[in-house]
């Protein structure tokens, strides 16, 4: 049998080339302690493998649980009433998700629109231009920032961003409190940057040095090299970094909740309040028991979120796998 198989069955791998007998042959004495060790190994393996099953159970349970809980509502209202209507009146039994979907997409788009160019430029700088000292400071700092809790970003948003946006909005002629789509997008873009920068940087590092040598030795500037050679080679990986940032933006709850206004209406401008899906769920769990079908509605919101984010993540994963295959060849 192959070495892998014999390993999996908990047996000690036979020592090749020494002429020693394989496990199980009469010349090999299976002492009681040896049998005990093998048995212990087998039990551990069963336990370990059990956790694999647990993961599958969890993932499927999550999906099915949300689906099951949303069913009542899905059965009652039509697709159009649910996803294309902005009429959100739980007491009257109207659950139109459009405003929330638009809110979620709006905040995410603004966040990515700002974060993408800034983060990519920063990542290129760190990879191609920055000296060792800058990098040794910047990269741990960025990793630290990725771990800062959402509430703190929300706090900063409330204190530093919202007043500024209010000023900007009134200066431009809009009536706004500052708690609006733009604020949400700005706070979110800040939260998304660390993850995009760190993934993009790693991807750029993996482009072989030979590419840079080949381009630079032709007399190209660093930027020309980056633009025409490196970015082309790293394109898929950079897309992955953006997709990952996007999925983080879609699911972010607390920070956005604190600055975005939470009004279930389609936004008329950047300075109108919006109500993204995560905020909807977070704000209303208290009402869940008192209004019929409300819990279904919230679970449906969670389900929509999960489906979209999962689609993004699996897409990123597929892209990454293609990349890895490309590098190995």
């Amino acid at each position: 049998m192959s070495q892998e198989e014999s390993l999996r069955l908990g047996q000690v791998p036979a020592i090749e080339g020494t002429g020693q007998a394989e496990v199980g042959s009469p010349a090999w004495s299976a002492t009681p302690s040896f049998r005990a060790r093998v048995a212990w190994d087998r039990w551990c393996a069963v336990f370990f493998r059990g956790t694999l099953g647990l993961v599958h159970l969890l993932a499927l349970g999550l999906l099915l649980g949300l689906l099951w809980k949303s069913f009542p509502l899905l059965g009652q209202l039509s697709f159009g009433e649910l996803f294309f209507s902005t009429a959100w009146h739980p007491l009257k039994g109207q659950y139109g998700f459009l405003a929330f979907i638009v809110g979620t997409l709006g905040v995410t788009l603004i966040a990515m629109g700002i974060a993408a160019p800034l983060s990519l430029l920063a990542a290129i700088y760190l990879s191609e231009y920055a000296g060792k000292r800058t990098r040794s400071v910047a990269i741990p700092f960025i990793q630290l920032l990725a771990g800062i809790p959402s509430v703190l970003f929300g706090l900063w948003g409330m204190l530093a961003l919202v007043p500024g946006v209010r000023l900007l909005g009134t200066a431009l002629g809009f009536r706004t409190t500052g708690y609006c789509l733009l604020s949400g997008g700005l706070v979110l873009s800040l939260m998304v940057c660390p993850i995009v920068i760190s993934v993009a940087w790693e991807i750029l590092q993996r482009v072989p040095m030979a590419a840079r040598e080949a381009a630079l030795s032709l007399g190209l500037t660093r930027w020309e090299t980056t633009r025409h050679v490196l970015l082309k080679l790293a394109r898929r990986g950079l897309v992955v970094s953006l997709v990952l940032g996007c999925s983080r933006a879609l699911g972010e709850t607390m920070a956005v909740l604190m600055v975005v206004g939470n009004v279930a209406r389609l936004p008329e401008s950047l300075f109108s309040p919006v109500y993204p899906l995560p905020s909807l769920i977070a704000n209303n769990y208290g009402e869940v028991m008192s209004i019929p079908r409300f819990d279904s509605a919230l679970m449906l919101a969670a389900l929509i979120l999960m489906c979209v984010v999962t689609a993004f993540n699996l897409g990123a994963r597929a892209l990454l796998q293609q990349l890895e295959r490309g590098w190995r060849s």
Binding site: A215, S217, L218, H228, L233
Partner: protein, 282 residues
């Protein structure tokens, strides 16, 4: 005044010294072979000349390298001009992620060469150093404004110089990554020549290639040496003997001996050179 003059070159990788007090003039329009055991600084010497050492971390380069009399190791040196004048062929060819034609026309375009410059460049080349054949010069040349035709002319000319034209002439727009290693290396040669350098540095250009491709590259180098200066690093003694007009022997970071190939190979002065040539040191 020779094109490339090296004066008191010292290179350090972190704390280790890779090159020690190297001083030499590289003869123009000839093939200079840099020989020596592996790890003795041959590649470092090459990369110092066109300052590819800037890419590495913790590499310190001290001394002077004069190209056309100007020290390129000075912080104010014009790197773009330097790298246009001195081309580079690496051990493993790396095609730019574009079509074959774009691989060749990209750098000239970036350097701002206009169609008439390209036409003039090729005409000059063929008139004074005919290498491709009268067909290229005598045919009707493109008008002054046509970028596309100038690009095609450039592509054809330099691919012929690299002995690659016949193999790829019907797929110029296909990605360069699809070529075999030997073809990619010839493409790299054509690409390096297309910006009209004075010299080309080649770091073990045939070590990754099969024997047939290797001999094609060697043949082209010998053909081109009348027009360009070549500095070729090689660890294959027989290749050095085939190609070299001038020889540099590097051992443990020191330039032990240098001189015309005939002299160094038949009457080496230093015992270390003798030991290397006879195969004692590897």
């Amino acid at each position: 005044m020779p094109l490339i003059q090296i004066r008191n070159l010292n290179v350090y990788y972190q704390k280790q010294q890779a090159l020690r007090e190297v001083s030499v003039d590289i003869p123009d329009r000839a093939i200079t072979a840099v020989i020596g055991p592996s790890g003795c600084g041959k590649t470092t010497l090459l990369k110092s000349i066109n300052r590819l050492t800037d890419l590495g971390e913790g590499i310190q380069v001290k001394g002077e390298i004069l190209i056309d009399g100007a020290n390129v190791l000075a912080p104010s040196a014009d790197l773009l001009l330097l790298r246009k004048k001195i081309g580079f062929l690496s051990q493993r060819p790396f095609p730019l992620p574009m079509s074959i034609r774009d691989n060749l026309t990209f750098a000239p375009r970036v350097h701002g060469m206009r169609p008439r410059d390209i036409v003039e460049q090729i005409r000059q080349m063929e008139t004074h150093w005919p290498m491709v054949g009268p067909g290229m010069v005598n045919r009707p040349l493109p008008g002054r404004r046509s970028y596309r035709e100038a690009g095609l002319l450039l592509t054809e000319y330099y691919l012929r110089l690299a002995a690659l034209w016949d193999e790829v002439k019907d797929r110029l727009d296909s990605p360069a990554q699809g070529l075999s290693v030997g073809q990619q290396q010839r493409l790299s040669l054509a690409r390096a020549l297309a910006v009209n350098p004075e010299a080309v540095l080649a770091d073990e250009p045939t070590s990754a290639l099969d024997p047939t491709s290797s001999s094609i590259i060697e043949k082209q180098l010998k053909l081109l040496r009348g027009r360009f200066t070549f500095v070729v690093v090689t660890h294959i003694l027989r290749q050095a003997k085939r190609l070299a007009d001038y020889v540099l022997f590097l051992y443990l970071g020191e330039l032990v001996e240098h001189g015309p190939a005939a002299e160094v190979f038949t009457h080496p002065r230093d015992p270390r050179t003798r030991a290397y040539l006879s195969g004692e040191i590897n």
